[in-house]
Subunit: 338 residues, 2 copies
């Protein structure tokens, strides 16, 4: 079957290509009769205008990009659903790029997107992204960007986050109330502002409750699951091991469960655990995991809404504004009192 | 800062736009000296050709689409990583579309993609997709498609699946060996060929082992989690309830856990459960879930490889071929003998 393009429509109707084109764009110099004929055939053959030709004409791609550190993560997969919800309502396409926490990859992706492929970008930073050139380039470009969850402090635009400091404080205080005295903090690379806020909450809670701050209880993890497992294993194998864990990333809470199982440490009797997590099965884990649960779907929606607002006002500079959506502490058996 | 386009390069070098354009495409009628100057400035200013202009010229978008029923599912999120791995190696962009098991949405997405926006499509069908017009249109178009996991029997192309019949047979026989006599089968809409194969495996195992086939033990679920929960609740509330469950979809195994917890049915003592699942935390559930685990990453990779092979031979018709990658039964406590 021939492709259905302007040429094909023109041939079948015995008209000039330019006539067909003007008929489709409802030009005043084409008769109503001709327009009707052209539209009827276009409908019959399911003619779709070439998107690239249209994008070139309109300087709009009807596409946004979402740049994420990872996808096999419940927070991000739910947030994508929220983004998609808003994008579909606006008849936009969604390109998804995964950086796998690799800074160079993130920089390459951003460069690729600065040439008009997308109308806007939603972005959650990979670890180590702060203060690097590609974000500066992004801000200097005409492509609007909205950050969500892992946001940049240095770029002036809309950012959607949760109340990271309070959540860190709340999680740690909860562990202390339930009886933990030696609380470990598991985190990814500490230079992301959300990680810094969560850790600040942890530290203030420890200090305010009169516990000793111990640097060796802060475990900085990376993208290598094996290495992270080893680090957590070392922490719990020590004689003076923690009796409480606050994991700032879902996957680290799961690793803590695996390490405790390996070392025959009982949760919550020997070690209490709370984790930032949107894991759907948190309540079915053995034991059920106490979580700080982010409003992932809403965060994706809010970020996308802010981006589409910006797309409607292409000549207005993005506002430097932070939208904070609150997380909830959901108490389960992993932090029960002894 | 001005956008870096051909015009800007031409202005800075005091050359005609057409000269710059031909220099960049290494045209024979431009001097080596001019080419060097143009390339040097293009590099310095990080010039990126307009992707839509290039796509129009080359009739290639350097983009593939992935159409999925859902994303908050461990199988698909791991499969996407496999697809992305191959796409990045081929310098391609990946568009992701989610149908939410909605057939009309799937049809709309396919229509949108038939006009040159993407060079190829990777697709996993939503329930109820068989024998519908949009797949026929897809086959008649010039856009190559490769199916993975939830494949179409009617469209002739490359399909990547797991050994669904054997896996269904194996899972059911495993339950019988461990002592289950009344085995329920939880499935999504039964018209997908992979669901039919899994169910056929279940039925043959039941019959071969001399157990009674009971139609009321086959629960057909849909995209509404609340309704599914109610259906499973009814099944287990009956006096003559099942003592074994084979869930052909991950989310249904999780619902079965929740129903058992609600009804105070003990797993595995009262009910044994096995599920198709790539859940990372399967071993941490209470009790650990016995799974049929698909090689999700490899399935994504193989599907993407087959698509890129097709893209390299645009004038060759897609082979009608099925690639089968084997799943594993991973035995855990949810199916332990009493």
């Amino acid at each position: 079957m021939n492709q259905v393009n302007l040429k094909r429509l023109a041939q079948e109707l015995n008209l000039a290509v330019s006539t067909v084109s003007r008929a489709l764009s409802d030009s005043y110099d084409i008769s109503e009769e001709t327009k009707k004929k052209v539209l009827a055939l276009a409908k019959k053959l399911n003619y779709q205008p070439n998107p690239f030709a249209r994008s070139l004409r309109n300087r709009s791609s009807k596409t946004i990009a979402v740049i994420l550190p990872e996808i096999a993560n419940n927070y991000f997969s739910v947030a994508i659903n929220g983004i998609e919800d808003v994008a579909q309502a606006n008849n936009y396409h969604v390109l998804i790029y995964i950086t796998h926490e690799n800074l160079q990859k993130e920089a390459d992706i951003v460069k690729l997107l600065l040439n008009g492929r997308v109308d806007g970008i939603l972005m959650s930073l990979s670890g180590g992204s702060e203060d690097t050139g590609h974000l500066k380039e992004l801000q200097d470009s005409k492509v609007p960007v909205v950050f969500f969850d892992r946001v940049s402090d240095t770029i002036e635009t809309v950012k959607v986050i949760t109340n990271n400091f309070e959540s860190g404080y709340l999680a740690t205080s909860h562990l202390i109330t339930r009886g933990s005295q030696k609380i470990a903090y598991l985190t990814f690379s500490g230079d992301l502002s959300i990680e810094q806020q969560r850790m600040k909450g942890y530290m203030e809670s420890v200090t305010n409750r009169g516990l000793q701050h111990r640097e060796e209880f802060i475990v900085r993890c990376n993208n290598n699951s094996e290495e992270n497992y080893q680090k957590i294993m070392e922490l719990f194998s020590a004689d003076d091991r923690p009796d409480g864990v606050f994991a700032s990333v879902e996957s680290l809470a799961i690793l803590a469960y695996e390490v405790c199982s390996e070392l025959n440490l009982r949760i919550p009797e020997d070690v209490k655990i709370v984790g930032f997590s949107n894991l759907r099965t948190a309540s079915l884990l053995s034991p059920a995991l106490t979580t700080i649960t982010q409003p992932a779907f809403n965060m994706g929606q809010e970020a996308a809404k802010a981006l589409f607002e910006a797309l409607e006002k292409p000549h207005v500079k993005m506002e430097n504004r932070t939208i904070v959506l609150r997380s909830n502490l959901i108490e389960r058996r992993s932090t029960a009192s002894n």
